[in-house]
């Protein structure tokens, strides 16, 4: 029997508010110099006091509602005390025994079909600052601290240990990301906007916590590494130690981080500078936008998308929005071309779907719909367009690319000419065909296709070639 893997996640997401959680500082700091988005409050200067950002609470409530959580009638903020240079006040304002919301769930694509993952709790907290080590953390001469990030609102979403494989963990994160994006409370592309702590154990063994994984792919990688490591430990008859490990993204491994200095007693107590929050009634007034599951069903009924396509298209809000902006009269064609071609090409180039002008894509779909070009040419046009975007060149319309490269589907006469040439140039293949070798026909079709540079309609070409060969026999 396979070892049962048990995984639970703690997901920290930055909420995309305009100002910080406890002060008015602008959260859009990523392109600015260190310590420019700061004030006495987020620097933790003596005497400063936190002032709660209502929008952050609203965003967190939206998430709680979308994840089917119960919002507590009263929640409160607590101080988590620990010493670290980038922690401005030497405590983080977070929520401890009275979080914002509890007992929710989210549906994911599990290893054996759709699966409900329980959400333990959701709470609000502030992000600490950031240490910038000059050189390595161990040997560097000094460390600088940047407080631009200090006070950015975070929500921590804690799941029950309901996940059974690294893949399920990855799927949960994707679904979570999509949900937060649909709510418009999260910018998944902002650097450092998501950090995950993962708890993983093999049933019957100790639990290991992997801290601070900062990418979606990293979570799956770290967990895969840990599954293998823990299984090997058990196979050798040893005991998996209960410990905290760090994931080294660059090497794809987890390392033990046992150190006296990290053994913390956080001495939580209620933050005396903030009043308890009573927001349960507020949640009823919040109207959620359409969420991924609902949108997926609508794509199937309204546009006739295949289930797999509908899942892919609604997996991210931007993709779904893009689809709806180009679906027009050809939703079937649009869903195929986005799900089966465009996303793969974008992924290959590490590009975002935002960068593709919908009008250009619509133009491409129109040429495909009227059968003015072949699918093969369609892919060529798409690639040419994406390369231009990626290289920051002026973007040609598909119509212009067709004209420039001469990709319009060839007419019957032109094909007939090419067929004549190919028959003349490949006597052996023609002989093989007459001798009954079926592969020879494929070879000849390929030769004509090559001459047409993919502009010939494969079905039409096949018919014409067979009738010509039959005539000449």
């Amino acid at each position: 029997m396979a070892d049962e893997i048990i995984i639970g996640l703690e997901i920290h997401c930055q909420l995309h508010t305009a100002s910080k959680l406890f002060c008015g500082c602008d959260t859009d700091f990523r392109s600015d110099a260190p310590n420019t988005h700061t004030c006495p409050v987020c620097l933790g200067l003596p005497g400063s006091m936190p002032m709660l950002n209502k929008k952050a609470v609203e965003y967190a409530l939206m998430v709680a509602k979308a994840l089917h959580c119960e919002v507590l009638s009263e929640c409160e903020f607590s101080r988590k005390n620990y010493f670290y240079p980038d922690l401005n006040k030497a405590y983080q304002i977070t929520q401890y025994d009275k979080p914002l919301a509890e007992n929710g769930h989210i549906l994911i694509e599990g290893d054996n079909g759709e699966k409900k993952i329980r959400i333990t709790r959701i709470h609000l907290e502030e992000d600490p600052g950031r240490s910038v080590h000059m050189g390595s953390q161990e040997r560097g001469r000094y460390t600088l601290v940047d407080y631009n990030r200090a006070g950015i609102p975070l929500i921590e979403i804690v799941t029950e240990p309901d996940l059974r494989s690294p893949k399920e963990a990855r799927r949960l994160l994707n679904k979570m990301r999509a949900t937060l994006e649909y709510l418009n409370v999260f910018d998944s592309e902002a650097e450092g906007s998501l950090r995950v702590d993962a708890n993983i154990s093999i049933k019957g063994s100790n639990r290991v916590e992997i801290k601070n994984i900062s990418s979606y792919k990293g979570v799956e990688k770290a967990l895969l590494f840990e599954v293998t490591r823990q299984k090997n430990v058990i196979r050798r008859g040893l005991t998996v130690e209960r410990e905290t490990r760090h994931f080294l993204e660059s090497r794809g491994v987890t390392t033990s981080s046992r150190s006296k200095e990290e053994e913390n007693d956080y001495r939580y107590f209620p933050e005396p500078d903030l009043l308890p929050l009573q927001v349960k009634s507020w949640v009823d007034t919040i109207i959620l936008p359409e969420l991924p599951d609902a949108r997926r069903e609508r794509f199937k009924t309204r546009y006739g998308c295949f289930t797999e396509h509908a899942k892919t298209l609604t997996g991210s809000k931007k993709t779904a929005d893009f689809f709806e902006s180009v679906a027009g009269n050809n939703p079937a064609l649009a869903s195929t071309w986005i799900a089966d071609y465009l996303l793969g090409e974008l992924n290959y180039r590490d590009m975002s779907i935002d960068s593709v002008p919908p009008s250009h894509f619509t133009d491409l779909l129109n040429h495909l719909a009227t059968e003015a070009i072949t699918d093969k040419s369609g892919v060529e046009i798409l690639r040419a367009m994406l390369d231009q975007i990626a290289e920051g060149k002026p973007i040609e319309t598909p119509t212009a690319i067709i004209a420039r490269l001469g990709l319009a589907k060839t007419g019957g006469d032109e094909i007939a000419g090419m067929i004549g040439d190919v028959i003349k140039e490949n006597p052996q293949a023609v002989k093989d065909y007459y001798d009954g070798k079926k592969e020879a026909l494929n070879y000849l079709v390929g030769q004509v296709m090559k001459k047409s540079r993919g502009r010939a309609d494969p079905a039409q070409l096949n018919t014409l070639l067979v009738s010509r060969l039959t005539k000449e026999e």
């Binding site: 006495p40 200067l45 003596p46 005497g47 936190p50 240079p85 030497a90 001495r267």
Partner: protein
């Protein structure tokens, strides 16, 4: 618009910092000098909390009360000495040396707002701001023979007050008489959105001396019990007799929660302090930390070297009280006791208008008299901490002398009813001044 000159002799060492040529603007307090306790942030003026760890720290912003005082035209003339971070009853724990009592310079001025009280008592300034976490305005007011008000929790913004124990403390006015306290209070009270615990309760009141007749004054037995010096007891009983002769009704009452209040107070204030003071690590402000050491060594050495003994003692007590496994036994129990104190006040104040008793169990100590035994020092707060635990307003007003040293009469009231205790204190003060 104008500026004044302020460089007085300071024989009692009331000030840590003086502003030689303070500027001021138009307003009801135009050109009036006000001294500020050194734990209230003043933009551009060094603010040390009486600690070596903040030496050289110049805040880039004004506390809300400073903004309000400046707007009213007051001249901020200096920062007054205090027990380090407010942790003391004598102003002897200041890293800048003790302040002495203007009534007798061999004695302490009380604390922790001892510098503010001495500056007012010596006539250096008419008004000062103090802060009161467990009696730090009322104790020095009592010892120096001036008037000091600890407002209701939330009536004055704490934004910019360098926190010692957030859930207990308030900034409040100190002056030679009740009118002065009332005058400054009207400037600093009111809502501030930057302090989430601040209430929208401004104060616009002229003290009224015609309130004693028919006033019901609760006299808790516990305020006249063991530990209260018999001479103090006698002087305050005399003050109550005056009230009675003016028509007030004296109603004996009980405050059983008093037996827990001191312990609860010290658990809560040290717990909060251990967290509040954790940020002083020499990185962002104050004297620089030694960067040659490893981080954990550097900051623990730094804190050992720059905090005084009493501060370190309270940080360790608070750290212990909040530790895993002890939280329920100490912090949570202290909160339960606090609710009992609050409930006692609520119950008594449905039967009486105000509560009265001595402010301090004794007159001012001699310098060095209490520093050897911290527990003796803590016991001196027994009569002042209940108001902080309950969040109610309390005022100390002089009511007589023992051995040529002043005695303070404490009046406490219902939440946000400063008007009532100010009127009672004013009526009493006027009677003391003119009536006899």
């Amino acid at each position: 618009m104008g500026s004044m000159t302020f460089h007085p002799e300071d024989p009692y060492h009331a000030f840590i910092t003086t502003v030689r040529d303070p500027e001021y603007t138009e307003g009801p307090l135009s050109g009036v000098p006000v001294a500020i306790k050194d734990n209230i942030s003043t933009s551009g003026i060094e603010t040390t909390c009486g600690s070596a760890i903040l030496r050289g720290y110049i805040p880039p912003y004004d506390a809300h009360v400073i903004t309000l005082l400046r707007r009213a035209g007051a001249a901020i003339v200096g920062k007054t000495n205090m027990d380090e971070f407010g942790m003391g009853t004598t102003t002897e724990s200041s890293a800048f040396g003790p302040t002495t009592n203007p009534n007798d310079s061999s004695r302490v001025p009380g604390g922790s707002s001892g510098g503010s009280a001495a500056a007012v008592a010596a006539g250096m300034v008419p008004y000062a701001l103090g802060s009161d976490t467990g009696g730090s305005i009322r104790c020095p007011a009592s010892f120096c023979g001036i008037v000091g008000l600890k407002p209701s929790y939330g009536r004055v913004s704490r934004f910019g007050l360098i926190a010692y124990a957030n859930s207990l403390e308030q900034i409040g006015p100190m002056a030679r008489d009740v009118s002065g306290v009332s005058r400054i209070f009207s400037v600093i009270a009111g809502h501030d959105p930057r302090d989430a615990t601040s209430a929208d309760r401004p104060y616009n009141h002229e003290p009224d001396s015609d309130v004693m007749d028919g006033l019901k004054i609760g006299i808790p037995d516990e305020y006249f019990g063991e530990g209260v010096d018999p001479a103090v007891r006698e002087t305050v009983t005399g003050a109550l007799d005056i009230c009675s002769s003016m028509g007030a009704e004296l109603i004996p009452c009980r405050m059983p929660s008093m037996q827990y209040s001191l312990a609860a107070y010290y658990v809560i204030c040290t717990s909060e302090a251990s967290s509040n003071l954790a940020r002083f690590d020499g990185i962002r402000y104050g004297p620089a930390v030694n960067t040659k050491k490893r981080w954990h060594d550097a900051f623990s050495d730094y804190r050992h070297d720059h905090f005084g003994k009493e501060v370190r003692r309270r940080i360790m007590l608070g750290t212990f009280a909040l530790s895993e496994g002890y939280y329920g036994r100490y912090y949570q129990k202290a909160q339960a006791a606090r609710r009992m104190v609050r409930e006692d006040f609520r119950r008594i104040l449905t039967q009486v208008d105000i509560i009265a008793g001595p402010t301090m169990p004794t007159i001012a100590y001699r310098l060095g008299e209490k520093t050897k035994d911290p527990l003796q020092m803590y016991l001196a707060d027994i009569l002042t901490v209940p108001a902080n635990l309950a969040g109610v307003p309390a005022i100390s007003v002089p009511c007589g002398m023992i051995e040529k040293m002043p005695v303070g009469f404490q009046i406490m009231g219902s939440n946000f009813h400063e008007e009532a205790i100010i009127d009672a204190a004013y009526a009493f003060e006027q009677e003391m001044k003119h009536g006899r």
